[in-house]
């Protein structure tokens, strides 16, 4: 059983995180830690607040209350681009690639923070522009090569097959040189074989880029296989935290997924309106 290293300071530390949309409390008093190099899962039934949580961590929403400390500083209230610069990169549940741009350009957008030329250099096409563009280009190709996507570099993102789109999204996030990678349902819409490949892929990039990963996923086989620790959300509340084996046998988790009252109630709900929220 692996426990979080208590002596080390966490890379990401979330305390009492709450967000309200009008009367709806989407996430309530969330406490979550991610340590260096860890692979942490965040699971829960649909509508539990997982993506909302990601949106707060990446600055898309600002929380109603609570603290988020990332790499030693508070990131509450920072804009998404600043959080990205601080070293947290994400992918999206519904793929959000820059469709009318090539794969290479997609990656190069993420590299913009490391361009080494100013506007005048670009407008006047000074020699420095060409040499620095070359550097950016080779860096982007390098990232694509690392993920086995170099053959796709000149393809328009919209023309990629689904699995590759997911990979390019991860590659684009990696290009920002993150310390923490937030993956929002990377296995959504994948078949079991593709999911198995993805789990190898995630573990591989985690080593190659020495990342911490926070993963939202519905595919339990994937989560249980690769995550070291798992947090479970239900109706915005943290209901369980622990290793995969602890989570598997946790009564509240089973209730959240199957409904309280176990099988009896499940069959009832199925008969009425398919109202189980799992």
């Amino acid at each position: 059983m692996s426990t979080p290293p208590k002596d080390k300071k966490p890379l990401l530390s979330v305390r009492d995180l709450t967000i309200r949309f009008g009367g709806l409390v989407a996430v309530n008093n969330l406490k979550l830690d991610v340590f260096d190099g860890e692979l942490v899962g965040l699971i829960g039934p649909n509508g539990a607040g997982k993506t909302t949580c990601f949106n707060m961590l990446t600055g898309v929403y600002s929380p109603t209350s609570g603290q988020i400390v990332f790499a030693g500083r508070s990131i509450v209230g920072l804009g998404p681009h600043k959080i990205s610069a601080a070293g947290a990169a994400r992918t999206f549940q519904n793929i959000r690639l820059f469709k009318e741009m090539t794969v290479l350009e997609n990656i190069m957008v993420s590299l913009h923070a490391r361009r080494n030329y100013n506007l005048a250099t670009a407008l006047l096409r000074l020699p420095r522009f060409f040499s620095q563009e070359k550097v950016l280009r080779s860096e982007a190709l390098n990232i694509l090569g690392n993920l086995g996507l170099e053959a796709r570099a000149e393809t328009y993102a919209k023309n990629l097959p689904y699995g590759d789109q997911r990979k390019v999204e991860i590659a684009r996030a990696l290009a920002t040189k993150p310390k923490l990678l937030l993956l929002d349902e990377p296995a959504a819409g994948m078949n079991p074989i593709e999911t198995a490949q993805l789990s190898g892929f995630i573990q591989e990039i985690r080593k190659k880029f020495s990342l911490s990963v926070l993963l939202i996923e519905h595919d339990m086989s994937l989560v249980m296989k690769i995550c070291e620790r798992i947090y479970v959300l239900d109706y915005g509340e943290l209901i369980a935290e622990g290793t995969p084996s602890q989570i598997k046998s946790n009564k509240r988790v089973i209730e959240a997924y199957l409904g309280g009252g176990g099988l009896e109630k499940l069959s009832q709900e199925k008969n009425t309106a398919g109202g189980a929220h799992a």
Binding site: T58, G59, V60, G79, P80, H81, S84, A85, A89, R90, F92, R96, L97, F98, K99, E100, M101, E105, M108, V109, S110, L111, H112, A113, R115, Y117, L119, A122, L123, L124, R125, F129, E133, L136, Y156, R172, A173, A175, T176
Partner: protein, 304 residues
Amino acid sequence: MIEYFGQIFVLFGINVILASSLNVINGYCGLFSLGHAGFFAVGAYSSAAFTTLIAPEWTAQSPHLALLVSSLIAMGTAGIAGLAVGIPCLRLTGDYLAIATVGFGEIIRIVFLNMDVVGASRGMPGIPRLTTIPWVIVGAAFTLIILNNLIKSSFGRCIKSIREDEIAAQAMGVNVRFYKTFSFVVGSLFAGLAGSLFAHNQEFLHPSNFVFMISVSVLLMIVLGGLGSQKGAVLGAFIVTLLPELLRLNEFVSQIRMLVFGLIMILVMLVFPEGLLGLLKKGSLKNKFFKKAKNEPGFSGAPL
């Protein structure tokens, strides 16, 4: 007759500048702006004010230098106007942004309509005719080169990423508010340049030169040519400038030429919804006809 063609050419050049500058805002950054005539007006009036009111003697002595200086002033003032309008407006998106920019475009026009130093509703006469065909060529080429260099740089990629997906762009570290304002200001800047060339071609300015319909016709040019393509903007400017003149050739059509022009525009948009350059992208019959052009590097209907 030569003067007539010269005048059409000058207007074509000015329209190229207007269209390609709006293309940065609308085609590349995806901001639906309908206030371009306002920045065009700011450029026109400020440059004309310089050459006729502030330094008329100097302008008479060295007209070329005066046009250059007044064009730079026009770009500066239009850029500042773009910044002043952009900062509040760019908090809005989509249709709301379009409405707000329409409003600001009209506000600018009405300010000039009531500004007595530049003639208010009497108009502003006596502007020296400084715009020559070489100057228009220089201005349009300068605009196209600078904007092309901008778009094909890291800055341009950031601008395009906003058009593609604002949320993803932010998450990849693109400062969306900055780049939106930046592209809005760049667009206004070059609209100002167009204004300066226009003022010193027309010799007389009136607020009715800068009505909402001007913004619409500039938008028409870039949509007609194909949004997000500099070649499309040039092609669109060419058609929108030339087609109404060509329709003068037939005496009957001449009387209803704007009606025919409108009909042609509707037909073109129905047949080529992606703009005229969009047809090169698809495997249409016309593709064969354009094959030679298509093989040139970079010449495709795909947004650059």
